[in-house]
Symmetry: C2
Subunit: 116 residues, 2 copies
């Protein structure tokens, strides 16, 4: 009798101690990825990948989420088949105090001054 | 009679209002450029381009200084034929509060933990 196979959708994340400045800055040095980060920072809930309004195709969008996760900025998990996203705000604040908030504020201010 | 031509060594810098998050993060997302920024941040004087210990050739080094200047992070000027560099700390603090200091601190901490 065939056994039902549990499809464990395990998503790998770097430990906070492995998060490095280079990868974090590279991840944030992209407008679409900053939009993801800003949207999550201003959301009261975790958000599915599909809920972001990014001006890129699905494959590029998926790449952006991967870059953010591998840099340690996002924690991703599944609810059913939906991939959810949370910012690793507290962990990053311990690792690199002030960095994420400063980038978010800078990007917010810039977007506001452009009416975006 | 030929006139002596003054070689005005004018170096262009973006106005602080034209400094943008994208360019600043791209400029900082490079280890050699972060070394320049950290070195200047910890120096009590402005420094000549030649005084930085960068693990790259002269042409690449020159490119890094240009990227930093065009992003609005450095102010460059000549003393005789020597190009000097200053961080635009105060201007950047007004434009993007906390950003430069957070990156410098993060890079300092990371370098310290690597013994670098």
């Amino acid at each position: 009798m065939a056994r039902a196979r549990a499809t464990a959708r395990v998503i790998k994340h770097p430990g906070v101690e492995d998060v490095n400045v280079q990868q974090v800055l590279e991840a944030l040095a992209d407008p679409a990825r900053r939009t993801v980060v800003r949207t999550l920072a201003h959301s009261t809930t975790h958000l599915s990948c599909g809920s972001f309004d990014l001006p890129v195709g699905r494959s590029t969008s998926s790449h952006h989420f991967t870059v953010l996760r591998e840099a340690g900025l996002l924690r991703q998990y599944y609810i059913g088949t939906t991939k959810m996203n949370a910012l690793r705000t507290e962990e990053l604040e311990v690792r690199f105090p002030g960095l994420l908030n400063a980038v978010i504020s800078a990007a917010d201010n810039e977007a506001a001054s452009k009416g975006g």
